[in-house]
Amino acid sequence: MSNITNQSLSEILESIKSKKISSLELTQAYIKNIENAKKLNAFVTTTFDQALENAKKFDNKPNNEQLLSGVPLAVKDLFCTENVKTTAGSNILNNFVPSYESTVTKNLWNNGAFLLGKLNCDEFAMGSSNETSFFGNVINPVGDHLVPGGSSGGSSSALAADLTPATIGTDTGGSIRQPASFTGTVGLKPTYGLCSRWGIVAFASSLDQAGPMTKTVNDCSIMLEAMSGFDEKDSTSINKKKETYSKNLKDNIKGLKIGIPKEYRVDNMPKEIDELWEKGKKILKDLGAQLIDISLPHTKYALPTYYIVAPAEASSNLARYDGVRYGYRSQKGKDLIEMYENTRSEGFGDEVKRRILIGTYVLSSGYYDAYYLKAQKVRQLIKKDFDDSFTKVDAILTPSTPSSAFKIGEKTNDPVSMYLNDIFTVPVNLAGLPALSLPAGLDKQGYPLGLQLIGKALDEQKILNIGYAFEKNCGYKNEIKKWWS
């Protein structure tokens, strides 16, 4: 039983169902792992007592009909959790305890899971390395000097280090897929509107989407099934019938057309990434898929477009953190304006401030047309590129990131090089499409690398199926040494 925590979610579920292990034993095993992994700094808050209580409750009256029966889960600290502190990685929410539960986490609990703790993340999900968190940076279990990716870096680190059987993150420009890629795990950003945004601390409303982070594609389909669904409390939620992704998971991808976009071969891309991509193509081809060269001509504008749209929305979304009603309030200042200034100066970190400034600037009178409006137009073109391609192909294969995990501190003084790490993930958010990052290999240093499968809107099942077939034939094995315990 000691090895239960390095199994996949579906294996764990099977063990619980067959009573090979109790929910309490499972929970205790994770608690032990978490306590031994403080060095990784993956958790902001742990809810052990509550988790043990829930585990006992489950064991007393097991209900194995649910998707996530008796499983403890840690979640990104961007999801509001009832009566459990929710910080979004920020000082400004350092003392914030919501009285409500986000729809996505509530869906998980309604499917039999319970909360194990809250995972560190970049402040307000703004970052690609989990170095902007007020609670300190998170370490990648792959190596003690490596970032776990971001913004869902606590999630990727905890998952790869066996601190949670699966987890959820949010992805605004790659915040699930890039950390998944850096830690050799599976990450899915669903179609915009598939998972409710209600109760998730907002970064950029038109881009934010919650999604699963798991060890296997099958786990990913289970988690997606549990967390997704229409929510009338989110006006951008898609009203459609719920799908049973795990039951419908198939590994036959014969005859599927896979698009290979030429624009994703960028300058100075490491040779290893190119080789990884070639390897991916070969695996899919060998499985009977047909490779088709496609063009997504506006790809090069995606990153600048993203860095206008996302900060614009963020500058407005973060206006509510003013110290008036909840959260951190500075004690300094002689009037309302000074209270605002001090609260926000002390409450927000540098990266958040940088983006609020950019966002405020691009929405300002005289600049709106040149930046925000133009970015919205380009966004439509990027979306159209994908729409056009999907008349010819079933899915698109690209690398997830232009590099493997970089060193802690390597890019903190160069925001643009940090932003460039999202170059392959950002277009998907702008187009609102689903995309799956799969562990596909290691670079010469032995660090994980990921490949990304992009699907049509609401075509999650198809990319999960392709990923499932790929996973079986890729031979990727996560061999993380537990150096921290």
Partner: protein
């Protein structure tokens, strides 16, 4: 109805100025819950008792449009003869204030739900059309209370998120009187529609007033000032009066008018500068990504149109045609839906013209006196109609009717009952009247002789005596006839 001439001008040394006014009216939508949350909108609750997590902008909270508010805006648009836009967009208007929890107000900027329309005003100098530029939906802010504590400001968010309709007029108004008529007309239309209660004391109707002046005959508008958030018609009129004169004085002195936002100080009766154009907020409007564009099916608009009640302009025409009222009477009787309903009930059961006269006279005077409105009138429409019919049929005289009316107000009783029990019925039996008249004539033989000798003024004396003797119940017309006959004889 004398046709007066429009005469609101300001005379300066250098010329005669006209005042150009445009209004941005903020009308609170009549709906049980707020624009984007389920919180109650009831007035007068304890502070912060009607506030949801959405209204107070907690992390992760999302707005969901309240359909009823959308329908109310469409109804109002239809009532203003306006174009309803099938596609409209909610935008964020960004600014910081303690009583604005989100740090932005959700409003409609480039694509409002209602486009151009018009409102007809009845002015003494004829009817005047005021153009409506647009109507859009937006959230109200909360309330900052600065005088409860010397060092702190308190915030009440009950109002935060309540739906407002901002109705923007074209700069077509030219005097405080027209502003008065315009606000009242808007209020009447919205009350007919049931889309806004128009209660200015409770802040359901407020306005930003844009004022500029120009020399009579000038084609171009002068520089305008906006007077923010005025909450009574009287204050609007005072503010306009002050502001227009201030601007004329500046121009007369050869100075320029700064485009600025001003506040009306109700205590000092003056406007004062709040912020100049340079300090104007940059609201950084952009489409709210939490809300999809609002797309209205034509069928919804058509259905709402079909279900609209008869509106004041149409009702007025009908009252003139159907009840033979003049324009003035019709105007007064359609000014409130409840009044028009009352009138129609009375008119169905009694003489239409007489009913109008008595309603606008004694009934309104009494209601006004008692501070009541028609819906809580102590006299029911049915009883009032009976009273009118009693007058019309000659059962009681107008003078007696006033007495009956007083008793009706006190007791709420049916007029027939009052007339019978108090024996107030008019004496219309010629024989009885002859008896009374003969008695008076025989008692006043000297006066009869004087009358016959040509002192015809004495006729009034005889009438008075008849009334006195009959306790005021003698039918005046019959009395006249019989008196004349007997005096001749």
């Amino acid at each position: 109805m004398s046709k007066e001439k429009f005469d609101y001008f300001i005379n300066g040394e250098k010329g005669k100025y006209e005042v150009v006014i445009g209004l941005e009216v903020h009308a609170q939508v009549l709906s049980s819950s707020k624009l984007f949350s389920g919180s109650s909108t009831k007035f007068g609750a304890d502070p912060n008792k009607q506030v949801s997590l959405i209204d107070s902008a907690f992390p992760g909270m999302l707005p969901v449009i309240n359909e009823e508010c959308v329908k109310q805006a469409v109804r109002t648009g239809l009532g203003l003869n306006a174009k309803i836009n099938n596609y409209s967009v909610f935008d964020r208007k960004n600014y910081f204030y303690a009583d604005l929890p989100q740090g932005y107000q959700i409003s409609q900027y480039k694509n409002p739900i209602v486009g151009e329309g018009k409102v007809l005003l009845d002015m003494p100098y004829g009817s005047k059309e005021i153009g409506i530029e647009r109507l859009h939906l937006e959230q109200d802010a909360g309330k900052s209370i600065h005088d409860m504590d010397p060092s702190s400001t308190y915030v009440d968010l009950n109002r935060s998120g309540i739906a407002l309709m901002e109705i923007v007029s074209k700069p077509h108004l030219r005097s405080p009187d027209e502003v008065n008529a315009y606000i009242k007309k808007l209020r009447t239309i919205m009350r007919y529609l049931g889309t806004c209660d128009g209660n200015m004391q409770e802040g359901s109707l407020r306005a930003d007033v844009n004022v500029s002046v120009r020399k009579v005959g000038d084609k171009n508008f002068g520089t305008r000032c906006e007077i923010k958030n005025v909450n009574s018609i009287k204050f609007m009129q005072m503010a306009i009066e002050y502001e227009a004169n201030r601007q004329v004085e500046l121009l007369e002195d050869g100075k320029e008018i700064d485009q600025e936002t001003r506040l009306f100080d109700t205590k000092k009766n003056e406007t004062r500068s709040m912020r100049s154009k340079e300090d104007a907020h940059d609201y950084r409007y952009f489409p709210d990504p939490d809300l999809l564009p609002l797309k209205l099916e034509q069928k919804l608009i058509d259905d709402l149109k079909k279900s609209l009640p008869e509106l004041p302009d149409n009702k007025k025409e009908r009252f003139i045609q159907e009840y033979g009222l003049n324009s003035y009477e019709a105007n007064v009787l359609v000014s409130e839906k409840e009044i028009s309903d009352y009138y129609e009930e009375v008119a169905k059961l009694s003489d239409k013209k007489l009913a109008a006269t008595w309603m606008m006279g004694d009934l309104f005077a009494m209601l006004n006196d008692k501070g009541l409105n028609i819906s809580n009138s102590p006299i029911s429409a049915k009883n009032f109609a009976e009273l009118v019919q009693s007058i019309k049929s000659g059962e009681i005289s107008g003078r007696i009717a006033k007495e009956v009316f007083e008793i009706m107000v006190e007791s709420g009783d049916n007029p027939k009952k009052i007339i019978e029990s108090k024996g107030m019925k008019q004496q219309s039996d010629p024989k009885e009247l002859e008896k009374i008249i003969n008695e008076i004539l025989s008692k006043n033989k000297d006066k009869v002789d004087q009358y016959k000798a040509g002192k015809e003024k004495l006729f009034g004396f005889f009438v008075g005596q008849v009334m006195k003797l009959s306790g005021g119940k003698a039918n005046p017309q019959l009395t006249n006839e019989i008196l004349k006959k007997l005096l001749k004889g």
